[in-house]
């Protein structure tokens, strides 16, 4: 092999690294899909499912999960950051109010998920402390932290906007979203302290489905 050929080969390899990664990611997803297809009664993942997102997240217990690991649960999701003093305590209270009104028997099939918009500050340790402070230690409470990029992407799916406005503060949308067992968005409530009857209705409907 001549030097020139070697360089060409290497060059080609380099140029396609990025794309190959993306494709590899896709293949992995497809493999995952293939597996879950079997487990989930041969059902194909709906196109609008958030489980099409291949991102990896860390929980308050330091475990790494794929969103798809949550398949089969009804998800109630909100984006917050733990150092927030303004809206988040009220958003967290809204989540708790919703949780309290979901019948106890249904709670096994529901996950209440807080996704951090401030992954730099909200380490798993910090999320764990937050869950303890807020008495959200039951299994149905889940706190997630991802990369800044995946967090931004995830927000686009929830139609949540957020922006860092000072070293410690973010402005952000207050939206609580409900997803069905296949990860498809079924309901959103916007605003703080709003009437959550419809949200609870959506959760119980999905659980009974």
């Amino acid at each position: 092999m001549t030097m020139k050929n070697l360089i060409y080969i290497l060059l080609a390899a380099f140029l396609f690294t990025a794309c190959n990664n993306a494709e590899k990611k896709e293949t992995e997803v497809e493999n995952d899909l293939a597996e879950t297809k079997v487990s989930a009664e041969n059902k194909e993942l709906p196109e609008l499912s958030i489980y099409n997102l291949p991102s990896t997240w860390t929980t308050q217990n330091g475990e790494n999960i794929q969103l798809e690991d949550l398949r089969g649960n009804v998800l109630v999701m909100v984006m917050i950051y733990t150092s927030c003093k303004a809206a988040c305590p009220r958003l967290v209270a809204d989540m708790r109010n919703i949780e309290k009104q979901v019948p106890e028997g249904d709670l096994d099939n529901v996950k209440f998920i807080m996704v951090s918009i401030d992954p730099e500050t909200d380490t798993p340790k910090r999320l764990k402390e937050f869950s303890i402070e807020n008495d959200m230690e039951d299994d149905h409470w889940l706190f997630l932290r991802g990369t800044p990029e995946d967090t931004r992407e995830f927000a686009t799916v929830l139609a949540v906007s957020y922006k860092k406005i000072s070293p410690i503060d973010f402005s952000h949308s207050n939206i609580i979203s409900v997803f069905d067992e296949e990860g498809v968005l079924v309901h959103q409530q916007e605003g703080l302290g709003v009437d959550n009857t419809e949200t609870i209705q959506a959760i119980t409907t999905e659980v009974s489905n």
């Binding site: 030097m3 290497l10 380099f14 609008l48 686009t156 799916v157 906007s161 949308s173």
Partner: protein, 259 residues
Amino acid sequence: MKTLIRLAVCIAVMIQSQAYSQSGSMVEVKGGEFIPLYGTKTEVPVGDFLMDVYPVTNAEFQQFVESNPRWRKSQVKKLFADDNYLRNWKDDLSLGEGMLPNSPVTNVSWYAAKNYCECQGKRLPTVDEWEYVAMANEKQPDARTEKTYNQFILSWYETPDTYKKTIGNTFKNYWGVYDLHGLVWEWTSDFNSVMIGGESRKDSTGDNNLFCGAAAVGATDLMNYAAFMRYAFRGSMKAQYSVKNLGFRCVQDVEKSEL
């Protein structure tokens, strides 16, 4: 042989970064600080980066979907693109009638644009980066107070169907970048960082400054109006939207390109 391979790798890396920076496709933008119209009252820092000289074209995107089937219009998942995705294309791989290969690609969702850039080893620019480069005219890095600069942008906003033009049709700005104004609007990585005051029912700390400030308008009226249109547009977008006058271009961190 090991040394040879190592040498070859080095050369390959050098060639690769040369290919990126010298193919005429990207130019370096020296970072700095500026006060964007919206979202903050203080200066924001922008680092050095490379930016595509032109928006991504139909032909370039065509190549992309050829090698990435999941972004073809018949195969793209609805989570990642709405029904308008590549709407005017004849089929998965061919442009529609009257579409020029050298026109900016439009009707692309944020997810598709983001993945396109990632596949080039690049990324979408942030709102701040995009605005920073876009405040330049031919001669000055910040021409926002120039009457002619603002008139150009506003008259473009009033011209229909400019997305059908070919790239390079407008002026080359201070940094060597073309077509930031005049052809299409462009995706940014954090377009969903824009919180428009009118949506304050959703926002925890809604930024109503723009509207309050409107009562005290002065010489910077035009400049604010032109930029406000862009921010309002971004604020109204969702990532799966594919819009006929919205395209994109990529940027790259300087360190990454030099390795």
